[in-house]
């Protein structure tokens, strides 16, 4: 059984419970053990516009906490995963910056060494667990539901840093969905951004980005929309009604975390997957 420190970040544990609950529910079945550690802080990525050194230092601090326990890190939020991967890339190749960051961390008796790996949700599901094992656990196949996949920007770009799938034609989530019995299909807006990062200063524009993409998905007759990022999910699911207003459309697109669809296909009941927290019309879809 593989083990990882679960690095939940800020958004998942303070408001996106559905992601956390469904991860904690399905991971043991996939033979992945998650360890909860104390003392984590923000990954720093949301502060990159304010002070990039703060981003690097906060990420290094979190990695150091897991390193002290000899654990690799699982970061389900793609933004956290990007921040930590970039931090690792910078510090592992630049002794001077590493020393400087470690001089900050010394006050808390922490030290970044660079021995822990950082893995994303797709690294775990696709590359570490693998399609075969997921397929073996499917009890209630997803009846050919037509699914639009949203990867989110941070999971696949910038590839120079090492991301979880191909930046222009990612297919790993589609492959997982096929194994679950769903029918993922291409749509031209697939790589469009949710706009979520503009929420802090231009919230209306952020919602317009969200609304435009969901409107396109709805027009193309998809049964469901799937994502893996708490920032994206907040836009597409939690704020779907408001997003609809920005494009003058009544949006009714069921939005799921990938981990929720996996759980449903495994025959887990919906309470245990946090489906009560999805504010989009997920009940429309008769699955599970």
């Amino acid at each position: 059984m593989k083990k990882y420190a679960l690095y939940p970040g800020c958004v998942i544990p303070t408001e996106q419970y559905a992601y956390e609950i469904s991860i904690r529910e399905i991971f043991p079945l996939l033979d992945i053990k998650l360890i909860d550690l104390k003392n984590f802080s923000c990954c720093g990525e949301p502060m990159k516009s304010v002070n990039q050194m703060l981003t690097i230092s906060l990420s290094a601090r979190n990695i150091a906490i897991a390193e002290a326990e000899n654990l690799d890190i699982f970061a389900p939020c793609p933004m956290c995963h990007l921040a930590m991967s970039e931090c690792k890339r910078i510090l592992d190749s630049d002794e001077k910056t590493k020393e400087r960051v470690n001089s900050f961390l010394a006050d808390e008796n922490l030290k970044y060494e660079g021995k822990s790996q950082i893995v994303s949700i797709i690294d775990v599901l696709y590359d570490i667990v693998g399609l075969q094992k997921i397929s073996d656990l499917v009890k209630k196949p997803l009846n050919n539901v037509k699914v639009a996949v949203h990867y989110g920007c941070h999971l696949i770009r910038p590839s120079e840093i090492g991301r979880s799938d191909n930046s222009e034609n990612p297919q790993k989530i589609e492959e997982i969905l096929k194994v679950l019995g769903a029918k993922p299909a291409y749509y031209p807006e697939k790589l469009d951004c949710c706009g979520g990062l503009l929420t802090s200063n231009l919230p209306e524009t952020a919602l317009t980005k969200t609304g435009q993409k969901l409107q396109a998905v709805q027009q193309q007759g998809f049964d469901a929309f799937v994502d893996v990022c708490p920032w994206c999910h907040r836009q597409y699911d939690s704020k779907q009604t408001k997003a609809g207003e920005t494009v003058a459309t009544k949006l009714e697109v069921p939005v799921f975390y990938l981990t929720q669809l996996i759980g449903l296909a495994f025959g887990i009941n919906k309470e245990k997957l946090g489906l009560e927290f999805n504010l989009s019309p997920v009940d429309k879809l008769k699955i599970g």
Binding site: T14, L37, F40, S41, S49, V50, M53, D107, E108, N201
Partner: protein, 175 residues
Amino acid sequence: MSIVDLTSMSESQITIKNEINQRLSKLRNEVSDYCYQCAKCTSGCEAHKLLELEPHKIIALLKRGLIDEMINSEVIWTCMSCFKCRERCPQKVAPVEVLFALKNMAVACGKQIPGNYTAMLQSILSIGIIQDVKSVTTNDNKTKNRSELGLPEISKPVNTTKFQMVLAKLAVEKV
């Protein structure tokens, strides 16, 4: 420590400003020359249609050294950090990274930080994360908290005083 230390132009911030300046000159001298203004970055820019951000022009202005003009403009805050410009540039120029450096510079120069960034930073300083736990409502309008759901307590800095010392060093020392 207050938020002012981390964001505004105090005596100790001069070193921070110098460092960001170095970052910008490096981008200017080593990177912007490779840009041949093909505007591929702008053609795929997520902020272009709605907000008129033109990353290729940002590089052109950087090349001409017009840093002050850019840090005084609100347009630098319209980037959505989608990283498409960095991914797709045939010359490996990364407008998004230039924009991050410009925003950092605007902050270090004491320009007003737009929107919620200040609140998020303040929250990091006091509890280590960008927001405290929110009251979360289910689709049948019940409010649930973590312990009712069997979720463990949120992981936050255990010793806030020491955590703040780390952040304070960042603001005061040469970073």
